[in-house]
């Protein structure tokens, strides 16, 4: 009997439900997957908590997590 195990994570990213076919994923990998080209220009909120860029490689997201990418916007003039 062949058992195929497919891991799919359901994540809410910037308010939208997305399915990611991965078993584990760090925040750094997620940023890459979501085409965030300048990770230094976003702050990442994982389930209400804010993370700093140096933490991104060490934190993994899991099924059911809510993630927001909040962009730095420095303009005003």
């Amino acid at each position: 009997m062949l058992i195929i195990s497919i891991n799919i994570m359901k994540l809410t990213i910037n308010g939208e439900l997305k399915e990611v076919a991965k078993a584990t994923l760090t925040v750094t990998e997620l940023l890459k997957l979501e085409n965030v080209t300048m990770p230094d220009m976003v702050t990442v909120q994982l389930n209400d908590e804010f993370m700093r860029p140096h933490q991104y490689p060490g934190i993994t997201v899991s099924d059911g997590d809510t993630i927001n990418f909040l962009y730095f916007m420095g303009g005003g003039q």
Binding site: Q45, Y71, G74
Partner: protein, 272 residues
């Protein structure tokens, strides 16, 4: 309590008939003191709306002079103003709309060594600055002085804003931590901004100010409102205070310091 003249009752009639404003709310507006930092894309609509609303004392701080490239979005300035200090141009327009106001001008850039004295006399502060060094400084100073303020940021077609009640709601540093590395920041003139986006965000900041003054509605405390004018999607992200925040946390800011500015920002700074 101030007694309104017939002409004031007429001028503010569309406020006064609002249940949430009324005579009392309009009196609060006329007695309020608000500082607008930056007389540019955000500061222009904020200053115009606050003046029209009758905010009795408005401070405006900006070290720059009006440039032709400002006029695509900085709607308080006109072609005839090119070359004069933005604060003087802004003051003229505010008084033209509403001659009864007191407008205080600060023709200088804000740094750790002058910002506390400048914000001190005001009830509410508007961040309409154009660089992260000053945005974080405004946050730090307002937390230290206990002044509520409205953060605003714009970029290309997008904008974001949050209202901060120091040590009660999340501050700018609770969310964004530190300024991003100077050098890779697209805040400079090269990034571009759709003029009307500044108007949308500035009008939101003015509305937040007036809500705070009259004590009505739910200000954007613990919420970051962001929008993208390309899709016209508006989104609110719920925030919470970081108890370990380096600015408003338990071991928070005690002394102000200046942040490093991106090279292009320093180059553009005419009055360092």
């Amino acid at each position: 309590m101030r007694n309104f003249t017939d002409s004031e009752l007429e001028r503010y009639s569309r406020h006064i008939i609002l249940e949430d404003v009324g005579i009392e709310g309009q009196q609060k507006i006329c007695d309020a003191r608000v500082l607008v930092i930056g007389a540019g894309g955000l500061g222009s609509p904020v200053a115009l709306y606050l003046a029209a609303a009758g905010v009795g004392t408005i401070g405006i701080a900006d070290g720059d002079e009006v440039d032709l490239s400002n006029l695509q979005r900085q709607v308080i300035h006109t072609t005839a103003d090119v070359g004069i200090p933005k604060v003087d141009s802004a003051k003229n327009k505010m008084l033209a709309i509403n001659p009864s106001l007191t407008v205080n001008t600060y023709h200088q850039m804000l740094f750790a060594n002058n910002i506390l004295d400048i914000i001190k006399p005001y009830d509410f502060i508007i961040d309409g600055t154009d660089n992260f060094a000053t945005k974080f400084l405004v946050n730090d100073a307002c937390v230290l002085a206990g002044k509520p303020f409205s953060h605003g940021g714009i970029l290309r077609f997008a904008g974001q804003t949050m209202t901060v009640k120091p040590r009660e709601s999340a501050c700018y540093a609770c969310v964004f931590g530190q300024p991003p590395p100077a050098g890779l920041v697209p805040t400079c003139s090269s990034a571009g901004i759709l003029g009307a986006v500044a108007g949308i965000l500035g009008a939101i900041q003015a509305a937040e100010t007036l809500k705070y003054i009259i004590g009505s509605g739910q200000p954007l405390y613990d919420q970051l409102l962001s929008f993208d004018a390309k899709t016209m999607n508006f989104r609110k992200v719920q925030l919470k205070r970081n108890p370990k925040c380096r600015v408003c946390g338990t071991d928070g800011v005690k002394v102000l310091h200046d942040y490093e500015q991106a090279v292009c920002e320093v180059k553009n700074a005419k009055n360092p």
